[in-house]
Symmetry: C2
Subunit: 226 residues, 2 copies
């Protein structure tokens, strides 16, 4: 049974990669840099976007919000007067626990690509499957909340390995938690040695400038060979 399942999954991933390349071609043609933003549920992705995208001087940003259900996050982003499209995986996509390239493809006609420099795709909150499905992004960033504990890289290594930046969020809570940052760094280096990490509190704004500068730099690097 499992061998069959593994083959079904591999076929699905192959098909996904083909569609992801098509998405990326579309984004490239419009000169849009695309970030796939991933985390566990409630790690603070949307608050991070509210804070960092509000002050992206000169860079025209848009957001594609992925959720199983609801449009809470899209409404929050829309309040910033940024273009946003909500994609629900329970709407014709079987309630999947991640975005895939086909879902993102279905949303492309609703995105004003000509008017964007940066598109952030906020994935479904999940530390497993989103790391397996490319959606056509140029860059992958993950958010890890200190409230989740320092052992997460050990338990979800693929996610921590798949990203090029780890944003450690909710550091305003550090003094109220038993979180051991040295252990977290040690575990993270064990699965993804030297991956850049930023300490942030999206709630208080601490560290947000650094996130914003990173995002801006990604757009100015766009078009350069990968």
């Amino acid at each position: 049974m499992h061998r069959t399942r593994v083959r079904v999954v591999e076929d699905a991933l192959d098909a996904n990669n083909t569609l992801a390349r098509a998405n990326r071609d579309d984004f490239d043609r419009h000169g849009v840099t695309v970030v796939n933003l991933m985390s566990a549920p409630g790690a603070g992705k949307t608050t991070l976007l509210e804070r960092s995208l509000a002050s992206l001087q000169g860079v025209r940003a848009g957001v594609l919000e992925g959720d199983v259900k609801g449009r809470v996050d899209a409404d929050r982003i829309a309040a910033l007067h940024l273009p946003v499209v909500q994609l629900n995986t329970d709407h014709g996509f079987g309630g999947e626990c991640h975005l895939d390239a086909n879902m993102v493809r279905s949303a492309i006609p609703s995105l004003p690509l000509d008017e964007l420099d940066l598109l952030v795709i906020e994935n479904v909150g999940n530390l497993v499957c989103p790391a397996e499905f490319r959606v056509g992004e140029d860059h992958r960033i993950m958010v890890s909340s200190v409230a989740e504990g320092e052992d997460k890289p050990l338990k979800y290594p693929l996610m921590f390995r798949a990203c090029e930046l780890v944003i450690v969020n909710k550091i305003d809570l550090l003094e109220h938690l038993d979180f051991d940052m040295e252990k977290f760094d040690y575990h993270l280096d064990g699965v993804h040695p030297g991956v850049p990490r930023m300490l942030v509190s999206a709630r208080t704004g601490e560290g947000i400038d650094e996130v914003r500068d990173w995002l801006v730099a990604l757009t100015t690097r766009a078009g350069a060979p990968a």
Copy 2:
């Protein structure tokens, strides 16, 4: 493509239910009450178990730890001198984001069912797929950390609907968060009206007695018609 995938998923769920029934028959034959404990990553399931199982006077408890990778949690439970088996989904099961009945079936021979009254199956941290896969449990409990925010029932309704008890954990952090308990209750009642909820801090021990009493009561109700 999606119609095919939905059929593959439906077939997989049918096969899963058949195996879940076989697991449950095995558990019933040994008089073991089984709880499927679910949550997002880092919501505090293991700390909750450390606290509540340590003082289960008279009830013989064991734990099946589900993780994509690693045995951090199993080591923590073993320190309590309770029988514990670690099940890794990346070990022959394709790194799945949830436990299924077949995985649990593979662990049954390693479990001392004759010596247990209560088996807690700690699922992979994930608010989506674990709710879809029965593993042979009698009861489903979920843990929602206040650090995740009050909008989670809106975004992951199936998980909040699938369980018969919601443990709201990390309430020691409430004074440092913007979490609105009334809104959480409102959203939760919207997807699962009236489901019992317990306010707990596994870290400080607040509310743990209530969890322990609930678990003990489940074992004494075992054998009664569902």
